[in-house]
């Protein structure tokens, strides 16, 4: 079977090269035969790489330990789900996974894009084929998953215990889907540049792709947080680790892009900037993969060092040069069609949103690379950690949060004093009330207080938008409020879905603010002994050590230590059990270092997080680290709200235009502002 996979990869190399050449030639000459060939090549590539993927999966499932990759990442006693997840659990497999997903996305893009954008498609095929070619090249020449061993081990090494977790089964592919899907909008951008057709077409063609990849990135990052929280055992979910940062960077630039394309759609402004942002997002997604694979910067998430890094560096360099040259030579076609009318306008607020997002991305990139930069510049490595990132990013984040509320309230082109009063009064009053309440309740943490206050302002602004829109429909169409609400959202899905996403973001901020009140204790307890910990809400938790038990499970030896919990003297749920695990292969030989399984009690207000750190010299005296983690659950809830908002926006079907014609891209909220537009905005848009 692996022979088949190997052959498929070689074939994919040829096809990737063919698709790139034919796509570009087809686009330039407009030759239908070449264009058709580029399109077909994209489909065949997806098929061929699927064959390679299937043959690797078969080897994993059949435990063919003669294949080095299978022996390195699985063992006979590994549950099937983890055997499957080993596909992307290691370097070589994950690169193949990347090529697979990209080839499927590329095929989907060719298949699903409406005909009116067909002038872009050969170039899109060229770009996707080229990126696929690169990834296949790396798998073939630097990290081949089909490489065989000179002998066949009786059992494999097994999967790293930290990867044996449901979160780990889904978080990397989710993140990969995010990373990889950025390639599609990027391919359209490059196609627009190559074809010199730089009107709105390409932006409309990628609208859904952009949002989908942004959603995958968001979910992937959040699942990664969840995995870190559950599996790494340090009691938090975000440590500004280089690999976490690497996933955050394209998210930031994609967020900026999602917003600034609206300015281009409405006003024909920021064209070069949008090209730059989508290219940056693509480059950062490649950079993120490079960071996790090259070992340039050490991280808990990274793979070991290998020559793969050089391939990535070369590809990054090539892409940067290509993008810069393309944008440079097309600069005259990317001229702005309008200028800013006022500093108090939605355009200006989006501009600041972009500035902050990109500023944040720059600071995160700078902090991540600072060890390298300082080594080069000063000869000594200087590292920065979470204090740096928090110090810089919390104020920027709060500024962004405020803009989340301001943007939707402020009029396009120019906001009048009347517009400002009408729109801002209620949300500001709400925010002030929340701030006073927090002070009265004794909240003294400045940043957390700001997060809650600004969050209240944003929620107030969004609720006001929903109420005003519903009210307007109710008055004008005589619909009852429920129907008016449903129609309001249904007919302006992009806008109101976006608001729901904003609510999700507010929830994230509230959850992050909760981390300011985290409390922690370390204790060494004999059975029956207990320790007290006061939660930020004023509860006193008492933890009593029940004892340590040892047993053998499926593929591991486990020692488990349990704590009984009371809150303010009353029993608080069942005891929490944290485990130390020693994974073994099917002969009982230990694989990997022992790992710790944290025990977590999730509640909406605070999580109780217990880590069993070990026993004292074979006795039942156990060392624990106990953390009370306020509001963590809201991170996961925020993510769900965000996905819901995204789903509302993406729901298929266009907006019904004024004459009942379905004009999916040019009507409703998506409509472009006429050159002479009434400057005051009095809910007119919501009535379309």
């Amino acid at each position: 079977m692996t022979i088949l996979g190997q052959l498929a990869l070689w074939l994919a190399l040829l096809l990737g090269a063919w698709g790139t050449v034919v796509g570009i030639l087809g686009g330039r000459r407009g030759d239908p035969a070449l264009i058709a060939s580029a399109r077909r090549t994209t489909y065949v590539l997806a098929g061929v790489i699927s064959v390679a993927a299937i043959s690797l999966v078969t080897a994993l499932l059949k435990s063919d330990f003669n294949v080095a990759y299978v022996a390195s990442y699985t063992s006979r006693n590994l549950p099937i789900a983890y055997k499957l997840s080993a596909f992307y659990g290691g370097q070589a497999g994950s690169l193949l996974f990347w090529a697979l997903v990209l080839s499927l996305f590329a095929a989907a893009a060719q298949w699903l894009t409406p005909r009116r954008y067909s002038y872009l498609m050969p170039y899109v095929a060229a770009v996707t084929s080229f990126v696929i070619l690169f990834f296949v090249m790396v798998t073939v020449f630097a990290a081949n998953p089909f490489e065989r061993l000179p002998f066949t081990p009786v059992d494999g090494r097994g999967l790293n215990p930290q990867l044996q977790n449901p979160g780990m089964v889904i978080h990397p592919p989710m993140l990969y889907l995010g990373y990889i899907s950025i390639t599609i909008p990027f391919a359209f951008a490059v196609a627009a540049l190559l074809s010199k057709r730089l009107d709105m077409g390409w932006l409309h063609a990628i609208r859904k792709w952009t949002l989908i990849s942004w959603l995958f990135l968001s979910v992937g990052i959040t699942l990664g947080m969840w995995w870190a929280y559950v599996e790494l055992g340090w009691g938090g979910y975000w440590a500004w680790d280089p690999v976490e940062n690497a996933s955050f960077l394209p998210w930031l630039t994609m967020t900026a892009f999602l917003h600034s394309v609206m300015i281009q759609e409405k006003r024909g402004m920021l064209k070069r900037w949008n090209m730059t942002l989508i290219s940056l997002s693509f480059l950062l997604s490649i950079f993120g993969t490079f960071i996790t694979r090259s070992g340039v910067i050490s991280s808990v998430h990274s793979f070991t060092q290998s020559s793969v890094g050089y391939f990535f560096l070369a590809f990054l360099g090539l892409s940067i040069v290509g993008v810069v040259v393309l944008i440079w030579t097309r600069a005259s076609l990317l001229k702005t069609e309008a200028h800013l009318d006022s500093a108090l306008s939605r355009e200006a607020s989006f501009f600041f949103n972009n500035l902050l997002l990109v500023g944040m991305a720059f600071s995160v990139l700078w902090g991540t690379l600072f060890p390298i930069i300082s080594e080069v510049v000063r000869g000594t490595q200087v590292t920065v950690g979470p204090p740096f990132f928090n110090q810089v990013n919390i104020p920027i984040g709060l500024g962004l949060l405020a803009l989340t509320g301001i943007g939707p309230l402020i009029a396009w082109r120019r906001a009048s004093p009347r517009n400002l009063r009408r729109q801002f009064a209620a949300p500001l009053v709400l925010a002030a009330l929340v701030a006073l309440a927090l002070i009265a309740l004794g909240l003294r943490d400045f940043y957390a207080g700001m997060a809650f206050t600004i969050g209240a302002f944003v929620v107030g602004a969004i609720v006001q938008e929903f109420i005003r829109g519903t009210g307007a429909r109710h008055r004008l169409h005589g619909e009852n409020p429920a129907l008016a609400f449903v129609r309001l959202v249904g007919r302006n899905r992009r806008r109101y879905g976006g608001y729901i996403v904003h609510i999700g973001i507010v929830i994230y901020f509230v959850a992050f603010a909760g981390q300011a009140f985290k409390t922690e204790i370390e204790a060494s307890l004999k059975p029956g002994e207990s320790v007290d910990l006061r939660s930020p809400y004023g509860h006193t938790y008492t933890f009593t050590h029940l004892g340590v038990s040892q047993y053998e499970a499926l593929n591991r030896f486990v020692s488990a230590a349990s704590l009984e919990i009371t809150r303010d003297g009353k029993p608080f749920g069942r005891p929490l059990t944290s485990e130390k695990r020693q994974h073994v292969d099917s002969f009982g030989r230990p694989t990997f270092e022992p790992s710790t399984e944290a025990a977590i009690r999730y509640t909406l207000r605070e999580d109780i997080y217990v880590v069993y750190a070990g026993s004292v010299e074979g006795t039942e005296e156990a060392v624990y680290r106990i953390t009370i983690n306020p509001l963590v659950t809201w991170v996961w809830i925020g993510c769900m709200v965000l996905v819901f908002g995204g789903a509302v926006t993406l729901w298929p079907g266009g907006t019904v235009g004024a004459r009942g014609l379905r004009r999916p891209t040019e009507s409703g909220y998506q409509a472009r502002l006429p050159a002479e537009m009434p400057i005051e905005r009095e809910g007119a848009e919501v009535l379309s």
Binding site: A71, T304, E522
Partner: protein
């Protein structure tokens, strides 16, 4: 003043603030990352370097780990092959902390020549990748 000019000025102020936050952030929280020999060189060049918090990346000397569970203290030695320092760390060690592993300790060098660590990270090169031949 024209709108673009106003926005430009505001933008420059925003970027200036970001730059300022970054510069002070690095100044206040940046930590030297050294090997034991580099630390020794720095201390001999400038004795006041004792008081500067550093991160030191080195390898744990085989058999040097002593754990005192009662005080939750771990003492061990780290080396880069040239210079060796004894390290005292109070707290929980990560699972991967064993003999001969690469560690990063953060803390201060004491006048008596021991390194008092406040954080201890064990790097496991094989984290996600099997060690060849293991």
């Amino acid at each position: 003043m024209r709108a673009p000019t106003k926005v430009l000025i505001a933008g420059i102020l925003v970027l200036g603030t970001v730059g300022y936050l970054m510069a002070t952030g690095i100044k206040e929280t940046g930590v030297y990352f050294v090997t034991p020999s580099e630390l020794a060189a720095k201390v001999s060049a400038d004795p006041s370097f004792h008081d500067v918090g550093v991160k030191m990346g080195a390898r744990v000397v085989n058999g040097s780990i002593e754990r005192n569970v009662a005080t939750q203290t771990i003492t061990f030695q780290v080396t880069d092959g040239e210079q060796t320092y004894p390290v005292v760390y109070r707290g929980l060690a990560p699972d991967t902390f064993t003999d001969d592993v690469e560690v990063v300790v953060e803390g201060r060098l004491q006048p008596d020549g021991t390194f008092r660590a406040t954080t201890l990270l064990a790097k496991c090169g094989s984290r996600y990748e099997a060690v060849p031949g293991a």
